[in-house]
């Protein structure tokens, strides 16, 4: 039940519901979309970006918060650890235990390589776990990988690396089959036909799902498989610096126990960065739908060692983050809610856009509705628009919400909102890092040999905007690919003398660029605790 302040608007939404269900809103033209994005999308707010003056992407702009940790010092000095006495010595070191990391681990293990996964939290503590909506693959007769290509490439504003998109869409059906064969419970009808829906920007219904626990179902299955294979996982241990060898090839990482701060040296013939996204950097002060550990660590590790970023200036703001109640502010409301028929409605009960525009367009459109047109709903903590969820029950029949999006129902029911009967309030939330480390088709960074990247830490697969369901797909396609490639490569690698010289090299570059900072990175975790320094000075604690 909503408080009194919402009732007037709710009545308007309810009164217009039947007509709004029947309405097929016009999709925007390409020009309209371009203008909308330029005016309202956060990626275009130039005062929120800094131009990098040191490192491989010198001269390019990135969010201010990212610039601060890219152009920062290492957490360690190069002589903090004894590189001659590694604590671990493996063929494939995988940094990150999410969907990409686990997929890579399974495939590298399949190749017979000695694999180790390090993760700063637990295996499966990752954005993969939180991906609700689904995974794309063109496996229906009316669809094709080429059709999927056009959707993904167009949705990404024609900026993606085409060879990566080709791999994404061509490997997709086989990846669904792989997951299915591992035991992932996809939604199917009684004949085995996958239940597929639209996502924003798709031209065919190719969104496969496991209710609205799609990512969680995939993640827990992959984690179980990693455990079954008895692949070593070192948890609560972060990689804080890459190690190169004398030839400049990736050769391991310095690890830090998150609880005791003890340092370890992991030597490896190949390294896979699968560290995920950056939502917890809270770019431009946005709330986020991301996991606690999403702090762009992999970008920092790679950048300091000399790997290039691609499209690090483009972020995805998911159009429908929860705007109310405060306890779930910023939490993801899956796009599947719109796939199932719910439309976006303003304070007056008007449908103001087609519900399945691409995410960047939808986010910008909601921001315009609230900020410029004054048609937002005041939530007490900010603005939001209605997502008219009772439409789903009218369109799909009673019970559709519980059957198809139980996690969403549960999330709002906890706070007394029955989304079957009442609409929910949404506003864009920081959701995905479109950019990341640049890779070649084999998953390797072009400028550091034996350094592979997979998952959200990669840039270039999705161009400047990602479609729903292409991220769960990309972590599987490129996670497995990186695992295979590293699993093969390690057989021909001889590691030279280990060095951390790049730390000093990067510091010198910072100095030359006139950057003075006391920031150390990677950040590892966000800080949500109050600053007690005025209450309890350090000297007194001692």
């Amino acid at each position: 039940m909503y408080a009194e302040q919402f009732q007037e608007s709710l009545k308007a939404v309810e009164a217009a519901r039947e007509a709004n269900i029947a309405l097929e809103p016009r999709r925007m033209t390409a020009d309209e979309k371009d203008r909308l994005l330029e005016t309202y999308h956060p990626d275009y707010r130039m005062d929120q970006f800094d131009v990098l003056t040191a490192g491989p992407n010198k001269g390019e702009k990135v969010p201010k918060e990212l610039a601060a940790i890219l152009q920062a010092h290492s957490r360690i000095a190069k002589d903090s650890v004894d590189l001659n006495a590694p604590d671990y010595d493996v063929d494939v070191l995988i940094i990150g235990g999410g969907g990409a990391g686990c997929s890579a681990a399974i495939e590298a293990d399949e190749k017979g390589a000695k694999v180790m996964v390090v993760t700063k939290l637990r295996t499966g503590d990752a954005n993969t776990m939180m991906a609700e909506g689904g995974i794309q693959a063109a496996d229906k007769p009316n669809d094709s990988p080429a059709q999927h290509f056009i959707d993904a490439y167009g949705g990404g504003h024609f900026a993606a690396k085409r060879e990566l998109v080709r791999k994404l869409v061509t490997d997709a059906p086989e990846c669904i089959q792989w997951l299915n064969d591992l035991g992932v419970e996809f939604d199917k009808d009684e004949n085995g036909v996958m239940v597929t829906t639209h996502g924003g920007g798709t031209s065919r219904k190719r969104m496969h799902a496991a209710k609205d626990y799609s990512g969680a179902e995939i993640m827990r299955t992959l984690r179980d498989e990693v455990l079954n294979r008895e692949i070593p996982v070192v948890d609560f241990t972060a990689a804080i610096e890459l190690i190169l060898d004398e030839n400049g090839n990736a050769s391991g990482a310095v690890l830090m126990n998150m609880e005791t701060n003890q340092l370890y040296v992991a030597k490896a013939k190949t390294v896979i960065i699968a560290t995920g996204g950056a939502g917890r950097m809270h770019y431009q002060g946005f709330p986020t739908s991301n996991h606690y550990g999403a702090t762009a660590d992999g970008l920092v590790l790679g950048y300091r060692a000399g790997a290039k970023l691609l499209y690090a200036d483009t972020l995805q703001y998911h159009p429908t983050g929860a705007a109310f109640p405060e306890q779930i502010f910023g939490a993801l409301v899956t796009e599947k809610v719109r796939s199932l028929g719910a439309k976006l409605v303003n304070v007056k009960g008007e449908v103001f856009m087609h519900p399945l525009e691409t995410r960047d367009v939808a986010a910008a459109s909601i921001i315009r509705e609230c900020m410029d047109r004054g048609n937002g709903v005041d939530t007490g903590d900010g603005q939001g628009v209605w997502l008219d969820t009772p439409m789903i029950e009218k369109i799909g029949g009673e019970g559709t919400i519980i059957a198809r999006i139980p996690a969403m129902y549960r999330m709002f029911a906890k706070y007394g909102i029955d989304m079957r009967k009442e609409p929910i309030l949404v506003f864009p939330t920081l959701h995905y890092q479109n950019g990341g480390l640049d890779i070649s088709l084999n998953g390797e960074t072009p400028n550091i040999k034996n350094l592979f990247v997979a998952g959200e830490a990669v840039g270039g697969i999705h161009g400047r905007n990602r479609l729903m369901g292409n991220s769960l797909l990309d972590i599987i396609v490129f996670g497995r690919n990186a695992g295979r490639m590293a699993g093969d490569r390690c057989k021909e690698v001889t590691v030279g003398r280990l060095t951390l010289d790049h730390i000093d090299r990067f510091d010198a570059e910072l100095k030359a660029a006139g950057i003075e900072t006391d920031v150390v990175s990677p950040k590892l975790l966000p800080k949500y605790t109050p600053d007690f320094k005025y209450v309890c000075k350090k000297a007194e604690v001692r």
Partner: protein
């Protein structure tokens, strides 16, 4: 105006705003979380927590990221619980009752106390899905346990020492791989791709000028 409540974190009293979740209340009180915090959104099960409200008998379990504080809550987080996970080869196991007896024989020692169900933060019928597992009804076990976040609260209360989330995990994998109907259209498409059916279509896109792809994109037909 913000209202405050008194809560007890590991027995120590803190005053926190009453609209916070337990997780946010811990952070408000100054805890920089390392364990016991994951997705912060109810999917990962990292923040299993037990509590008892002062003056009440009942011991409750919850996810700290999903539960609002209330006056007089005595809170202990449970960031790790030693669940038993048995290793198996998904390609080789049989999809019958035998496998449960072999891997998780303790489920047959269930005394029917239903403490697992009462404590489940996801409100699952845990004892029921264990009953399905006992019978080798993996499909029902999978359905009944589907929303499990593997927080382990159930297992903390089990006198028989059952690791319920792991039993359910096994059942779901068996169901997904062996029992759910096969997807012929998927197998067909994988074969077509192997046969190179779409190679020409895709190759034609690789070198096409951006303007032409834009035309294709902006004028593509969209399935209703």
């Amino acid at each position: 105006m913000e209202n405050f409540v008194n809560i007890y974190l590991f027995g120590k009293e803190y005053k926190v705003p009453d609209n916070l979740t337990i997780m946010k209340a811990m952070e408000y009180s100054g805890y920089q979380l390392k364990r016991g915090c994951g997705c912060r959104n109810g999917f990962c099960g990292a923040c299993a927590t037990i509590y008892r409200v002062k003056g009440r008998q009942e011991l409750k379990a919850c996810l700290a990221c999903q539960t609002k504080v209330e006056e007089g809550m005595y809170i202990a987080t449970l960031p790790f619980f030693p669940l038993v996970k048995k290793v198996f080869d998904i390609e080789k196991i049989s999809a019958d009752q035998q496998i449960m007896m072999q891997l998780y024989p303790e489920i047959y020692a269930c005394v029917g106390c239903n403490a697992c169900t009462k404590v489940c933060p996801q409100e699952l019928n845990v004892m029921q899905y264990i009953a399905y597992a006992q019978r080798g009804d993996f499909k029902r076990c999978a359905e009944e346990s589907f929303d499990c976040v593997m927080c382990g609260c159930c297992s903390t209360r089990c006198p028989a020492g059952i690791s319920h989330p792991q039993v359910a995990m096994l059942a779901r994998r068996i169901n997904g791989k062996y029992l759910a109907p096969k997807s012929q259209h998927l197998a067909d498409r994988v074969q077509e791709i192997k046969d190179g059916t779409f190679d020409q279509l895709i190759e034609a896109l690789m070198d096409k000028p951006v303007e032409e792809i834009k035309e294709l994109y902006n004028n593509r037909d969209i399935e209703k």
